[in-house]
Amino acid sequence: MLVNQFLILGAVLFCIGVYGVIARRNAVMVLMSIELILNSVNLNLLAFALRNGSVDGHVFALYIITVAAAEVGVGLALVLLVYRNRKSIGLEELSEMKG
């Protein structure tokens, strides 16, 4: 097994996630794309852990999973709040930051 096969798989997933974050309009879908990105990072960490024969990568992968869970929780709470206030979770309509 090459190191690169895992790393490149991670890169592909990362980029698909990036595309999703940019292209999606629905906030829930954006969160899903972020999950893709986080997973690709985990894949990298574990590949490196195996390459270096160290356990640290596993620890960080676990931490990332935890943070991802927290992120989804808060993210969906935000989405819910936005939905309550605007009856929509389209990100395009959230343009108060327009300069």
Binding site: C15, Y19, M32, I65, L78
Partner: protein, 164 residues
């Protein structure tokens, strides 16, 4: 080693296909289900990478808890369960060059950085004990910090989602 490569190839193909579906289908629930496929594939890759515990955690936390959150989020916001036309931005095309550029750069970096480097063969499976030794040893401080993150996330989610 050949078996592992074949397994990797199959799972990787499924994952990439699933990931593409996640960002292209026009139905939130279907996207969530495709995401399950990708996450399960990731768990399988972890097993190939000799990381059992992470694989199990992945299944429990992601496929179990996070997916339920997603589905709840979908239901609570009454996003239409069926297909939606306008799930994409008007400027969705911006994603293609950005992601493409990023992929090109990453691939370039990886190929030039690691080339044909092999992973160590028949590495021992990392046991849960080793991981816990690390977490509760050198990485104890991050662990505490993480606990606070979770606590804050829980309280924050309640405060945000509360009705009154």
């Amino acid at each position: 080693m050949v078996a592992q490569n074949i397994a990797f190839g199959i799972v990787a193909a499924i994952m990439v296909w699933g990931a593409l579906r996640v960002v292209t289908v026009n139905n939130v629930v279907h996207a969530a289900l495709w995401l399950v496929l990708v996450l399960a594939g990731a768990a399988a890759q972890y097993v190939i990478l000799a990381a059992e515990f992470i694989a199990i955690t992945q299944v429990l936390v992601y496929i179990g808890a996070v997916m339920v959150l997603f589905l709840f989020g979908t239901m609570l916001t009454r996003a239409r369960i069926g297909a939606e036309r306008e799930l994409n931005n008007k400027s969705w095309w911006l994603g293609v060059p950005s992601a493409g550029l990023l992929l090109g750069v990453l691939t370039l970096a990886l190929v030039s950085g690691f080339g044909d480097e092999e992973l160590p063969k028949d590495a021992a499976i990392v046991s849960t004990e080793q991981i816990s030794d690390q977490i509760f040893g050198p990485y104890l401080l991050p662990f505490w910090a993480l606990s606070f993150v979770l606590l804050v996330a829980v309280i924050g989610a309640i405060v945000l989602a509360r009705k009154d």
